[in-house]
Amino acid sequence: MANKNQYAMLFDATRCIDCRACMVACSVENNIPMDKTRIWVSGIGVSGQYPNLTRSTMVYHCMHCLEPDCASACPVGAWTKREDGPVVYNSEVCIGCRYCMNACPFGVPKFDWDKGIVEGPLIDKCSMCAHRIDDGLEPACVATCPTDALVFGDREELIAEAHGRIAAHPDRYVNHVYGETENGGTSYLVLSHVPFKDLGLPEGIGDEPLNTLSEQYVGNTIPVALTWATVLGAVTAGVHTYKHKNHKAESLVKETAEAAEEEIQ
């Protein structure tokens, strides 16, 4: 995968003013009920020691991983990483097992806990407004953001842009673009003036996608099954022949005796 020409979003925590317009825009655009949301804007609060205080805010989206764990985990393949970036959901096939929620290291997918069998619960998460991208538009959150804390564009260009901002103001930023390599790279990139941990972004995910190992594991299923079946078959046959070798002679004698008996009768 790792298509070079895919879209991404860049969030710059230093520019966010915690106005939450993106949340509203998202809910309106995607028809999200009042008590749910796809984006969460979190005022982290004030950190540091007086007089060097910083205030920070984080906007949580789906990270739109290049190698999404939700997609790898889903037993029915409800998730697709589109060539142009968004990780999108197929509500028609989802069985509601919620493995994707467990597999996603960023805790993104959400479930309809309040829906019974008639309404049919589904998973919900940010789609990067894939329908708007198809119409040549930016995602609703990006289009709304008054400070350009959220911008949308080509992933490679955005990464270059992010490094450009760091280079221009090395004192302002942490020297890292979160999402450039995390979990194999993501299409939601974050720039920050405080440690990423303080923004609630998990550290220690590493650069290798979490699903590499489990996909290798599943990939071995068929060869392992065939080998194991052959071994077990061989053992069964071996044990059987061994155990019955001794009995054979006995039963042969018996059989001939019985046959002789019948003849006499």
Partner: protein, 406 residues
């Protein structure tokens, strides 16, 4: 006709059976509420704890505890250690009922149970859960086939029973392969949670550890279930056989411990053993209850040869395994999304199973126990009844034919 005579052994509504019926009815009621108003209406599951009590208990423990069926089938049919035969049928039945219970529980837990067949149609070959789903479905069918002879004998259809007896070997092998796959894959399910599962538990060899512990607990379950049913149904106990099974357990657990600690050492995680607070406590709890105590108990012939020793030792094995599965699938999983200043519906990071949530699982277990009791009453489940009765009957058939053709 004979069927009627058989069933005239009336089922008395003993207190035990009454209690089980009440539990089942209550569980059914809660399940109805769940189907009407959603999973959130009966459980405390939430976006942070999307898998918890149901998955840990019903799926992780349920599947592992059902492993006695494949372990015994392998011992008896593949290694042809015939003397264990009296233990086979109850083990297969326990396994079969266990897997049916797992499936019923999953139909409650799945958001859209009516789409369960999607697993067969929309296959995602990268998903461990897909592999487990297919294996569990197929294996439950295999267990039904392995158990079918008992049913046909119970129905006095020895010919069909005998026919099924003859083709059982391929199914046994298939069953062992499927079991190996999905018992390991339950561990494989957690491979993807490297960043959230505590390092005392997360390791690339999780599948192997799951497989070994499943075999051990399979033996443990056979011992436990024989001990319990001999008490409840007033049958004799096959002490010498169970004692021999119990003598295998320390080896299995020994290998498990060796791998577990070698793995921790290899990844440099040994320091977590005493430095992770509650996690360290939970880890030692599962190791001591599930491995150390059983190893000590079952390596002593005196304990192995006493009915109480077998019961208590196997209880340790089973409870220890359950602690392990709860740890690995729930307690030791770090639940992220600790967002500051978010409203309740987004930050609910606490979880404790609700009464209704637990009562569904309890109802399912009660149904399983009841089904086992009924089967023990009406089917030739224990060897004394079937081995002499039916085998002689079936082997007598050809002889009669020979004589009549004379």
């Amino acid at each position: 006709m004979k069927l009627k005579i058989r069933l005239s052994e009336k089922l008395h509504l003993t207190p035990g059976i009454t209690i089980m019926l009440i539990l089942i009815a209550w569980g059914l009621f809660v399940a109805m509420v769940r189907y009407a108003n959603g999973i959130g209406a009966v459980s405390n599951l939430n976006d942070t704890y999307s898998w918890a009590f149901w998955i840990s208990f019903d799926l992780f423990c349920g599947v592992a505890l059902g492993s006695g069926a494949f372990t015994m089938a392998a011992i008896i049919h593949i290694f042809e250690i015939e003397r264990f035969k009296p233990l086979l049928r109850p083990a297969i039945l326990t396994g079969f009922l266990g897997y049916v219970m797992v499936i019923v529980a999953l139909l409650v837990d799945l958001g859209r149970p009516e789409r369960i067949w999607h697993m067969i149609v929309y296959q995602n070959h990268h998903s461990v859960l897909f592999e487990i789903g297919i294996c569990v479905m197929t294996y439950t069918t295999v267990l039904a086939i392995e158990f079918a002879p008992v049913l046909f004998e119970g129905l006095r259809l020895p010919k069909i029973a005998h026919m099924l007896h003859r083709i059982v070997i391929p199914f046994v092998i298939l069953g062992v392969v499927l079991s190996t796959l999905h018992q390991s894959s339950l561990g494989g399910l957690l491979l993807i949670q490297r960043s959230t599962l505590h390092p005392l538990w997360w390791t690339p060899i999780l599948p192997l550890l799951f497989f070994i512990s499943a075999i051990v607990v399979g033996l443990g379950m056979v011992i436990l279930e024989s001990s319990l049913s001999s008490r409840a149904l007033h049958r004799g106990l096959e002490i010498s056989l169970l004692s021999e099974l119990a003598s295998y357990i320390p080896y299995g657990l020994g290998i498990y411990l060796l791998l577990k600690f070698a793995d921790l050492a290899y990844f440099g995680d040994l320091h977590y053993l005493f430095s992770s607070g509650m996690m360290s406590v939970l880890f030692w709890l599962e190791i001591i209850v599930g491995a150390v105590v059983p190893i000590i108990m079952f390596s002593q012939a005196k304990i192995r040869n006493s009915a109480n020793g077998l019961l208590i030792g196997s209880l340790f094995v089973v409870v220890g395994l359950m602690i392990n599965r709860f740890n690995v699938s729930w307690f030791a999983v770090e639940h992220i999304r600790n967002l500051p200043l978010a409203p309740d519906f987004m930050t609910q990071t606490s979880y404790f199973p609700s009464f209704m949530e637990v009562s569904i699982s309890v109802g399912i277990v009660a149904a399983g126990v009841l089904a086992f009791t009924l089967a023990a009453k009406y089917l030739p489940l224990f060897e004394e009844e079937e081995e002499t009765a039916v085998h002689e009957k079936t082997s007598a058939l050809p002889r009669i034919q020979v004589q009549s053709g004379d």
